[in-house]
């Protein structure tokens, strides 16, 4: 699956299958981009430490997989996030939004397929303007590939003035039961003025073959809106993922994100926050705790377009066994964006000699009156602290667990959605008990 012919053939097939295609232009442009850039290799600076070539050397069942999967439907009951009884649940199966499996509890939410939204009077302009905006920041073939083959996408609209009482849970289920599967979920979200929303999203692969998910979600946040977003990754080692979440703050708004990554094959997160309105605020937290041979890459972009914005970013990593990590945090401060406050920090603990991490802050500042700081650390568990705990009778393994848990605390405390907070705590305790430290 690594030659252009393969994709060309599929792309033509997709085009001819569609009598009407609302997305014909954007699709064609994306495919042209993909044809030019191809699958990113390590020669691409953005993909230097994350090699996805092998993912594309495999054969997949189809580039456009089956929409329906009985196994995935069955699996949903076992992969639900705690608190789901009170949540709006949006389910993707094999990259396609699945309406029957989804549950909408809030009348302040409008849920449509992307195609429906593209023709609806109220949303047509919005879709046209915002769908594919992430492309301006992610110029690689991976992002283009999703857009070129966009199918079964989801449109979410949070009505103006509503504080959505029920959180939105998004599940991405991939059925690798009948061979390797390649999924490309796509969604576009509109958080209208003065509304509030809490969101959690997770990824689950079922079946023993491999999955590769290439996801793009684009979110537009308007004036006085408040958004919390929790990304939870704890998939199996046979599940690889490129997950792009692209936020535009088009009005003065508040965004709070926590990205928790605990397992997977090759995992790459792109989190973009485009601060297009004065006095916007963004908080980006991340915790990755990996072992085995898994690879976790967090690429973030905070783009200060307008003045007086505040952003704070803290990512912490714990890498065990042969796992590898990457952190790349870009902060742009545009010429116009005076009085920007932007902070960034990445801290890592390596629990084994074979684990490694590449961390790189990247600040590009074109304004002169700004406050920016960044820093990164890579180290081991503190010997002094270990000895202190052990001198109190605490065994070495328990002491390590306590210190890892303590290290993670200032990320976990930012998970404000209570059932999700407890759930993550539990996952981490379980991981620590497994003796992976």
């Amino acid at each position: 699956m690594n030659n252009l012919e393969y994709y060309k053939e599929r792309f033509d097939r997709l085009k001819s299958a569609k009598t009407v295609d609302r997305f014909a232009d954007i699709r064609q442009n994306a495919f042209n981009d993909f044809s030019k850039t191809g699958i990113p290799t390590s020669k691409n600076e953005e993909w230097k430490y994350t090699r996805i070539g092998n993912i594309f050397n495999k054969e997949y069942r189809s580039l456009i997989p089956d929409v329906v999967s009985a196994a995935a439907e069955e699996a949903l009951s076992s992969v639900r996030l705690p608190g789901y009884e009170q949540a709006n649940e949006l389910v993707f199966v094999n990259g396609f939004f699945n309406q029957p499996l989804s549950t909408i509890r809030s009348s302040d939410l409008v849920i449509l397929s992307l195609e429906e939204a593209a023709v609806a009077d109220e949303y047509r302009e919005f879709v046209k303007k915002n769908l594919g905006h992430s492309h301006h920041y992610l110029k690689d073939g991976i992002n283009a590939l999703n857009t070129a083959f966009m199918q079964g996408g989801l449109f979410i609209h949070v009505k103006k003035g509503y504080a959505v009482e029920h959180p939105v849970y998004i599940y991405n289920i991939s059925d690798a039961g009948a061979g390797n599967i390649f999924c490309q979920p796509r969604s576009l979200m509109h958080v209208a003025e003065n509304s509030q929303l809490q969101m959690a999203e997770t990824y689950v692969t079922i079946g023993g073959s491999d999955s590769f998910t290439n996801q793009v979600m684009e979110v537009v946040i308007e004036k006085d809106a408040v958004v919390e977003y929790y990304k939870i990754q704890n998939d199996a080692a046979n599940a690889s993922l490129v997950s792009t979440t692209h936020f535009r703050q088009t009005g003065k708004s508040y965004i709070h994100t926590v990205t928790i990554s605990l397992n997977g094959g090759i995992v790459r997160n792109n989190l973009n926050i485009i601060m297009e309105s004065e006095r916007s605020e963004a908080h980006l937290y991340g915790l990755y705790f990996h072992g085995g041979t898994s690879h976790i890459d967090n690429h973030t972009i905070v783009d200060n377009v307008k003045p007086n914005c505040f952003s704070n970013e803290l990512y912490k990593g714990i890498l065990n066994e042969d796992s590898t990590g990457v952190f790349n945090g870009k902060i742009y401060v545009r010429q116009d964006a005076q009085k920007t406050n932007a902070y960034q920090s990445n801290k890592n603990i390596l629990l084994s000699d074979n684990a490694s991490v590449n961390t790189k802050p990247q600040l590009e500042i074109f304004a002169d009156d700004v406050k920016c700081s960044h820093g990164c650390t890579v180290g081991q568990l503190d010997e002094e602290a270990m000895f202190y705990l052990q001198s109190r009778g605490i065994s070495e393994s328990t002491a390590r667990s306590l210190l890892v848990r303590a290290f993670a605390e200032d990320i976990l405390e930012h998970i404000k959605l209570d059932p999700i907070h407890k759930y993550i705590e539990k996952l981490i305790v379980k991981r620590l008990k497994k003796g992976t430290t």
């Binding site: 503190d382 010997e383 002094e384 602290a385 000895f387 202190y388 705990l389 052990q390 001198s391 109190r392 009778g393 605490i394 065994s395 070495e396 328990t398 002491a399 306590l402 210190l403 848990r405 303590a406 290290f407 993670a408 605390e409 200032d410």
Partner: protein
């Protein structure tokens, strides 16, 4: 209870302890005094089992066991406790959770059942009163942002919770004002019984006004160069460490 014989120890290849001999019996209070850099904290760390310190010669017997053969947590399980000169700050770990883990790990080591929440809370309350320590301090992350006095009080509070047989207090008085010293000393005295022992390491004599030692030893240049009763502490206070130094340096030249 504790028998140290001819103990030599290195850190980073440098010899710090050069033949320590010391015996402590149940019920006794010993004090080790000495100028800065003489090896007091090193001795305390070696006894507690810190890895950076390499024992090159000598033996230490604790309650009939070869102490040097045990891991730090096993030493704690056997009943050894070190109140640190510089307690470590651990952000993200609540003090209460830490103490609860310690209490139960030690109980496990001794083949006892874990304390349930009620029993643990009861014990906490009791010892908090003893140490004049506030609940709010204990729900904070371990030692993080604690004042010097709070850290030291927290050390003795842990000692109260863990009920060791031998407590080593390393400069527990340093940085404390006189009221805080009184509280700490009072706690130590209340915990002291005929069955346990205390080794007070201090630079100054003033703590010994409150914790009265049965024996005082002077550590200088990695060796115990003088031992006596509490009057020795007063003499040191009066004459300063120079008189010891001079005595020893002269002896060594001969």
């Amino acid at each position: 209870m504790l028998k140290i014989q001819n103990l030599h120890a290195n850190v980073e290849g440098k010899q710090i302890l050069k033949g320590i001999n010391l015996e402590i019996k149940a019920g006794e209070v010993h004090a080790i005094m000495g100028p800065n850099g003489s090896g007091k904290s090193t001795l305390a760390s070696v006894l507690a089992g810190r890895k950076e310190y390499e024992v090159t010669e000598g033996t230490v017997e604790f309650l009939g066991r070869d102490l040097l053969d045990l891991d730090p947590e096993e030493r704690a399980g056997e009943g050894l406790f070190l109140a640190f000169q510089y307690p470590v700050e651990i952000p993200g770990l609540s003090t209460t959770n830490f103490i609860k883990t310690a209490v139960n790990e030690i109980r496990k080591y001794r083949g006892q059942e874990s304390l349930d929440a009620v029993a643990f809370l009861k014990m906490m309350k009791e010892k908090m009163a003893l140490m004049n320590i506030d609940q709010s301090l204990l729900s904070r992350p371990l030692n993080e942002g604690f004042s010097g006095g709070e850290k030291k009080r927290n050390e003795i509070f842990q000692m109260a919770m863990l009920q060791p047989k031998l407590a080593i207090l390393d400069e527990t008085d340093s940085g404390l004002d006189i009221d805080a010293i009184r509280i700490v000393a009072n706690g130590v005295n209340k915990l002291h019984t005929k069955e346990n022992a205390v080794l007070v390491v201090t630079h100054y004599q003033r703590l010994l006004d409150y914790i009265i030692p049965d024996f005082v030893h002077v550590l200088y240049n990695g060796r115990i160069v003088k031992s006596g009763t509490k009057e020795l502490a007063l003499e040191l206070e009066e004459k300063g460490y120079d008189f010891i130094k001079n005595e020893i340096d002269v002896e060594e030249q001969v």
